[in-house]
Amino acid sequence: MKNIVSPSFSRRSFIKTSSLAGGGLLIGFNLFQACKPEAAPPVDISKLNFNDFNAFIKIADNGIVTIFSPNPEIGQGVKTAMPMLIAEELDVLWDNVHVAQGELDTENFTRQVAGGSQSIRLGWEPLRQTGATARQMLVNAAAAKWGVEASECTTKEGFIFNANGDKLGYGEVVKEAAALKVPENVKLKDPKDFTIIGQDINNVDIDKIVAGKPLYGMDYKEEGMLYASVLRPPAFGKKLDSFDDTEAKKVAGVQSIVKFGDKIAVLAKDTWTAMKGKKALKANWISDETLESTEDHDKKLIELLDGKDFDTMRSDGDIKKAFEDVDQVIERTYESPFLPHNCMEPMNFFADVTDEKVRLVGPIQTPERTAGAVAELLERDLKDVSVEMTRMGGGFGRRLYGDFALEAAEISKVAKKPVKVVYSREDDMSAGIYRPAIKYRISASIKEGKITGYHLKEASINSNMYGLIPNFFPAGAIENYQVDVASYQSKITTGAWRAPYTNFLSFAEQSFFDELAEILEVDRIQLRLDLLQKVKGTTDERIQYSPERLENVIKVAVEKSGWGNSKEGVFQGFSAYYCHNTHVAEVADVVLENEMPVVKKVTCVVDCGIVVNPLGAKNQIEGGIIDGVGHAMYGNFSFKDGEPKDKNFNSYRLIRINETPVVETHFIESDVAPTGLGEPTLPPAGAAVSNAIKAAKGIRLYKQPFIENMKKEKAPLG
């Protein structure tokens, strides 16, 4: 009989060790796939090979632990939270742990990062396993030294103890540990024994940030590098016809001018000169197609909603029948504009394309995909292309796309120089990959005061909701339920924007339920709770939200926000949502100042499982909510003849500190695995605010941004 090898989780293939030449133990590990058989951690600490390993742990002979994490930070705090998971199981004092960015490696390698609020969820098991394995190796080494059983030894704060009262520091056994076999099936801590997870830990880059040290792509420079400012078509749908660079060449300091595709780059030794040179370019643009305006999009999307041409994403029961056998049909349409990401650090990227290799450095969330795209564009072997990531001045989805890295590569190839492309704010806002404009139409069939059918239609620009989104609440709660989607193909580039689709879908649905409660004359909280009862015990595997957990955050939010007991002049709005594996309920407190709504406070209840780092988690929650409030209130982005109307912060409004609510966060205590926080508090914020505005002014808002559209709405009579 053939021996069948089971694909069981073997630590040995994920973790490898070496004894460092300068003293200390080095552990190289891979998170989501086995190490290559030949992979070995170096004995020289300056030669960390992130091609073979995701990260390294160094335990020095003085017991100090250094975690070399190659993943830079986008702003969600994972660079702090992920090492916390390792340190917890390693059982060391956090004060003795240093987190270092992997040294810049000029050899060929590509790093991996998780996105979509998934880093902590996916890293939870493997990172703790890694820490626990390292701890076990040190224990085994100490036990051998003492001649006792490893099972008799315990650890605490970087020391190993045995039953005889002997004590050894981790640093004292690193040499022996490095020579041992990597143990398998190590035991993880009981969550009640955690000493680091659940503590407030400061951002590991905080010292550099407050001192203004170089960290970001924008700060990156190399000897001989030129800065490139790129003139791109001013409108989606326009192409370059001809250009005149006579004046640009006269700008003192301009080094060269490179045309590539429909774009022209001006290269100089400093950013300002490159930008000045770009402004001196004269270009003629042509278009043989109709140029799109926001009014056209509005018309097209409404046509789609009115039409019959949909893809059905989920269908339960018989929606047709439900809408025939009714007392009442309630139908509402919700509308959102395009949104730019507006990362504070404008897009930028460094490229050095030579005959030998292609080196790329900059802020990017998708290094692998970008390396592949550059290799294809330049017709180079993928192994010649390296992508080095810097810290990112915000992402929000924009840095999933490597368009700016491709530009840098193309310019460097033509110019035969190391080049850094730098976007101005105007470039950043007008060459975006925007959140698409979307319209939702939601209909409910009502029979004898009950919701018998729910029909959600989505009309979006370029693409539609995906994955499990059609199975989010209220899927499973209403017998006859259908989600239909359609899209209009536009020349305007669109993509992921913090909490894709749910960032607006949540507003539509949570506004709709609020209005349904008013029409049915039932309590708006009870309506949601009643619907959730029907989901309990579901066997539908597509439904990943937990009705119990959603019910719980709703009830706690009611209690913590003083729902129904607000002070005179304070109007409250409710919203609850599940996305990115996290359950959230929010209550917005709105007051009127000069008849305009001002959001004073948002009470937020979050069930994200175990909270790894409450300090960092609250920062994400506060930021997500204020981001959600800000874009719902002010975010207005439109096009005229293919060109964005707003290109900088003088006319495009982002929320500022004097418009910001105080966010009060409550976590649900939990012992289940953690889920992400970068996105899930944003989606419910818009509906909480609009439901509060309804309470304050009697105006029901169907369109974002609120401030712009409130001017157009009239309060209903009576």
Partner: protein, 156 residues
């Protein structure tokens, strides 16, 4: 191109640059002081805030030819070792998310607290409203300015 003598963080620097070059780019590209950030280029976001003779100023709008012989302070010179009460408060409150705007935020806060070391929340919100934080770490910025004020009052 003309040469300008600048006094930055107590040190003299001479820079050869086009007279229109904003101080922001002189700092970043000519002098390798990259703590001062580029955000919008039109004085709307505050990422490039520096002190000019002690006042918070947007360096993206300041031509190099206008600032000779003036005292320029950047985030690198706010303190030698990140010990300024504002920097300390920013660390304690753990303000940053992406962190990109924070040098500008801290420079605005430091200049504001020089004028008013016992501000109300409303005054803080008003004073800091010229600085955008896209990650919206605003609740913490507010707290950190308040904490910095109390630190300043303790030592003075």
């Amino acid at each position: 191109m003309p040469i300008y003598n600048l006094k930055i963080n107590g040190q003299s620097h001479s820079v050869e640059a086009d007279q229109e070059t904003p101080l922001l780019w002189v700092l970043r590209d000519h002098l390798n002081m990259v703590g001062t950030k580029f955000g919008c280029g039109i004085g709307q976001c505050g990422a490039c805030t520096i002190h000019l003779d002690g006042s918070a100023t947007r360096s993206c709008l300041l031509q190099v030819s206008m600032v000779e012989n003036m005292e320029i302070t950047t985030i690198e010179g706010l303190s030698e070792d990140a010990s300024h009460p504002v920097q300390q408060a920013w660390k304690e409150v753990d303000v940053p998310q992406c962190g990109y705007c924070q040098a500008g935020q801290m420079m605005s806060a430091a200049a504001f607290l020089e004028e008013n070391n016992n501000p109300s929340r409303l005054e803080i919100r008003d004073a800091m409203s010229g600085n955008i934080c896209r990650c919206a770490a605003y609740n913490r910025i507010e707290k950190a300015v308040e904490l910095a004020a109390s630190k300043i009052n303790q030592t003075s």
